[in-house]
């Protein structure tokens, strides 16, 4: 942790978004993580994305479980709603919150430990339900908070700081989620905000469950030579063949102009995700092709990043459950809970 809080400097004119807010209004408390932690960069990217999207802070709900990664919602958008849940339970709380108030933008922050070990079941069901949220896994291959044990995402042969190698096969959250029917899947790297920020923005625009697996090095326990989740390893093995632009609704195209035949996905709110480049034969709607591509690259020791799969037309949690258009929190109490007479009546109907 730094010795001082980040000061506000009066005359330094920072750019303002549509709400007249600067990025400083999308920051949170000063981080207590280790200096150089990838998670802090992801935090900065999230602040940036929400600032750029001009999302009103009070319309954001940030949720997390337990872990260094799960501490980070405190460090962004101080004006947002927040819930720091039990280890691995972020997805369940997010599901409930989403049912109660569908107006908010939900962002869950988790770790590879939080999501792929203790919380795997909950993650799976949030995917299945297509809960409308952004789900970020800050993936460092270890349990950072408990001092660096291997997590379920550690690669075979990857070494701990003291030398032990991991023998068990890793769980890849992207492949796992793909096989379970997730509707928005991306992978990125904390050290590459140019890629991460638009991915976060697209994820926010996505209608349904949007998972971003962000390789986010743990500088203290997993940034050494034998690590496959270090800054250096990522820089040497990352493959960025899939490049996308995010064009927010009502905004001119800001990032570089795409080819005419580029694939475009119009998100439910009218914004556009445009694939600037994809490898030959790649189809971001075709699960089978996506899976083949990721696996082939993985076998070569490469880590593909970018927006890997998207399906904007799947029914989300509300459509699937036929919930009312307004959030449950604004349904009058008498309607939500019609009383014991109504219950008895219903029970009678099952006789």
């Amino acid at each position: 942790m730094t010795s001082i809080a980040k000061p506000v400097i009066p005359l330094v004119a920072l750019p303002k978004n549509e709400l007249g807010l600067s990025i400083r209004d999308y920051e949170g408390a000063i981080s207590t993580l280790c200096a150089g932690c990838g998670h802090d960069s992801v935090t900065a990217a999230i602040s940036h994305a929400f600032w750029e999207l001009s999302t009103p802070p009070h319309m954001i709900a940030k949720l997390s479980g337990i872990g260094c990664s799960s501490k980070t919602p405190t460090y962004f958008v101080r004006g947002a709603h927040g819930f720091n849940s039990a280890h691995g339970r972020m997805a369940t709380i997010a599901t409930g919150a989403n049912a109660a108030n569908r107006e908010l933008t939900y962002i869950g922050i988790s770790g590879d430990g939080d999501s792929l070990s203790i919380g795997l079941g909950h993650l799976a069901h949030a995917i299945r339900r297509n809960v409308n949220m952004v789900y970020v896994i800050e993936n460092n291959g270890v349990y950072g908070l408990t001092k660096g044990q291997f997590s379920a995402s550690a690669d075979i042969g990857s070494r701990l700081k003291k030398g032990e190698a991991n023998a068990m096969a890793p769980i890849d959250p992207v492949l796992l989620s793909l096989s379970m029917g997730a509707t928005f899947l991306a992978r990125s790297f904390s050290g590459d905000k140019a890629q991460l920020v638009p991915l976060l923005e697209a994820a926010v625009a996505h209608n349904g469950f949007a998972l971003i697996d962000v390789i986010s090095p743990c500088v203290t326990f997993n940034d050494h030579e034998g690590s496959t989740k270090s800054y250096r390893f990522m820089r040497e093995h990352e493959v960025k063949e899939i490049e996308t632009d995010f064009v927010p609704i009502r905004k001119e195209i800001r990032r570089s102009i795409a080819d005419n035949d580029a694939t475009e996905v119009t998100m439910h709110d009218g914004s556009v995700v445009r694939f600037r480049s994809v490898p030959e034969g790649y189809d971001p709607y075709d699960r089978q092709k996506v899976e083949d591509y990721i696996r082939t690259r993985q076998d070569r020791g490469e880590i593909v990043t970018g927006l890997l799969y998207v399906n904007e037309y799947a029914a989300d949690v509300h459509a699937l459950n036929n919930t009312p258009l307004q959030g449950l929190n604004s349904v009058p109490y008498e309607k939500l809970c019609p009383g014991s007479d109504a219950l008895t009546k219903m029970q009678q109907s099952f006789r």
Partner: protein
């Protein structure tokens, strides 16, 4: 861009905006930190090394450092550097033990200084510790030059002036008061090894308009600097009730405020041009207006109006100026009645006592040709400095000239080339004391600039001597010192250590750091986290970073030296390092053949 060469002392020196702007390169943040620690003697001595007169300058300096101060770009007003200098001078104890030691054994060289103003006194201050005999000729009976004869005591108390000039004279100056030099030729014949001319710019400019020389009785039209001198020497102790001051520079400000104390009631300062073109420092204008002096713009003097040979007023053309005040047109002519007029429209050099056949060449405007690095005239061994060199400036420039001229004199007397100047050098030292602990206070303090308290208006005019500014009280001092951003604590970067984690970039409160592909300066300036819009401030560009070959770029413009980048950096690629500028003074070069500065030992002994 090429990687920044941060081994060149100029790079970090420039980051210390105040020090860079100070003609004598005073270590401002260094002495402010000492004041913050209550080390007033140390702060005073650190000041004295470069600016020689901290007590005087702490009240009167023109303070080019303040408009340059980084704090202005951060919250709109500079650190009150000058006022803090005065705090150190007022609260210091006895520093006599710490003044340069004077060797009892002299080096056999004799130097003459003409005039006893700040320029000559600085030369003496630098040469006496080296064993020189310094003979100083002053036309008046007191030392100090314009600081004594023109700067009024309500701004600069006589005791402060005397203390700081006497310290130098007591180092062993052979001072000859009441000794105007009337002939350079004779002086040259006296066999000095070098001569320093520090006679200032003693002639006040005339206003040649009708009526100027038609008074029949005692004149009521005065030349500003001569009038102030007469006031200082007690020859003048009153003035009429209605006074017009012509001109709106700093001399005019001293004339109007002195008039206020000598009986003036209706005092008007008459300016030809609009306010934004005034020469007077803004704080001097404020102080004058606080004393109910009226400042009237756009009035050009047309003629003096006399009745029966007695001055009764002046006529002015009222002007209307175009946008950049380059052209004017006369709207009307007005008459302003008055009892006295003081002309404060500038000063000129005058060297009637320097014969023109000695090899000392004079250029345009009849001023001597002086080298702006060595301060040597066209006659080797004769040096000019202060207002005498390039026309009227101010005290701190006179001091800066004095230091340089002393170096030249020392080189000249050592038969070395005066053009071989010892370069400025620097030291850089980490301020890291432990995990996120620094040897300086790195937190940003939001205090606003402290306002100087003045003696109440009702009590202020009781005497000419009463100092108006009260100085900072302890609370003001404590707050003001924390406004300094410690610009000398530099962000020093080591590219090979950087793992490009972005931590520094994310934490920087002013977004002045970026990792990006290298490019030319314009391209880089445009694509930083926050565009670098102030081209007067440098961009730091690192060597290629090990993992991606990109570069770290820092816009120096509004870095607040908070050290957060260094605290967040996991590899210590950033460090907060104290920059100290090493300014060579006379005798600091090991090459010279006569005894070394501040030591009675000869060079051979030192080696």
């Amino acid at each position: 861009m090429e990687p920044t060469n941060d081994r060149n002392p100029d790079y970090y020196h420039k980051v210390v905006d105040c020090q860079w702007a100070c003609p004598a390169h005073t270590d401002v943040p260094g002495y402010i930190r000492l004041i913050a620690q209550g080390r007033f003697d140390d702060a005073y001595m650190l000041n004295r090394e470069s600016n020689v007169f901290p007590g005087i300058l702490g009240r009167t300096c023109d303070r080019p450092c303040e408009p340059a101060c980084r704090r202005t770009r951060v919250d709109g007003s500079p650190v009150a550097i000058c006022r803090l200098k005065r705090v150190a001078a007022d609260l210091k104890g006895d520093v006599s033990e710490r003044l340069p030691a004077i060797p009892s054994q002299k080096n056999g060289k004799r130097v003459a200084c003409v005039g006893a103003g700040p320029a000559s006194l600085t030369v003496a201050n630098d040469l006496l510790p080296l064993g020189y005999d310094v003979v100083m000729f002053e036309q008046y009976e007191r030392p100090g030059g314009l600081m004594r004869t023109n700067i009024p005591e309500f701004r600069l108390p006589e005791q402060v002036l005397t203390d700081e000039t006497q310290v130098i004279i007591d180092m062993g100056v052979d001072i000859r008061y009441n000794s105007p030099i009337a002939s350079m030729s004779n002086l040259l014949n006296e066999g000095f090894d070098a001569i320093f001319v520090g006679v200032g710019a003693p002639r006040g400019k005339e206003l040649h308009i009708p009526g100027r020389h038609e008074e029949t009785g005692d004149s009521h039209i005065f030349i500003g600097i001569d009038w102030l001198e007469s006031v200082a020497f007690g020859h003048v102790d009153q003035i009429g009730e209605r006074v017009l001051i012509i001109g709106v520079g700093n001399t005019a400000m001293d004339c109007c405020r002195s008039s206020r104390r000598l009986g003036g009631v209706d005092i008007k300062v008459m300016a030809r041009r609009p306010r934004e073109y005034f020469k007077a420092s803004p704080w001097e204008l404020d102080d004058a207006e606080e004393e109910n002096v009226e400042i009237i713009v756009n009035h050009a003097p047309k003629r003096f109006v006399l009745e029966n040979g007695i001055l009764v007023g002046m006529e002015f053309d009222v002007l209307s100026w175009n946008e950049n005040a380059s052209k004017s047109e006369i709207l009307e002519t007005v008459f302003l009645p008055c009892d006295d007029v003081i002309l404060a429209i500038g000063q000129e050099n005058a060297f009637p006592w320097i014969e023109r056949d000695l090899g000392i060449e004079f250029g345009e405007w009849d001023v001597p040709i002086v080298d702006d690095v060595t301060f040597e005239s066209t006659l080797a061994g004769v040096y000019f400095g202060g207002d005498a060199a390039f026309g009227p400036k101010n005290i701190i420039w006179a001091v800066a000239h004095g230091h340089e001229a002393a170096k030249s004199i020392h080189a000249h007397c050592s038969q070395l080339d005066v053009r071989d100047r010892e370069p400025l050098t620097m030291t850089l030292e980490s301020t890291k004391m432990g995990m996120n602990e620094w040897r300086y206070h790195n937190d940003y303090n939001p205090s606003s600039r402290q306002k100087m308290n003045h003696v109440e208006l009702s009590k202020r005019f009781a005497s000419l001597e009463l100092e108006v500014e009260l100085g900072f009280n302890p609370e003001q001092t404590a707050r003001e010192v924390q406004r300094c951003l410690n610009c000398d604590i530099q962000t020093a970067f080591q590219a090979p250590l950087c793992i490009e984690c972005d931590a520094c970039i994310d934490i920087c409160p002013v977004q002045c750091l970026t990792i990006t592909e290298n490019g030319d300066e314009d391209a880089l300036r445009a694509r930083l986290s926050a565009p670098a819009l102030n081209p007067a401030q440098a961009l730091y560009v690192s060597a290629a970073l090990p993992q991606t070959g990109r570069v770290m770029v820092k816009d120096e413009n509004v870095c607040v030296h908070c050290g957060l980048c260094a605290e967040r950096c996991p590899t210590s690629a950033w460090d907060m390092e104290e920059f100290e500028l090493r300014i060579p003074y006379a005798g600091d070069s090991g090459l010279l053949t006569i005894p070394v500065r501040r030591s009675a030992k000869s060079v051979s002994e030192v080696r």
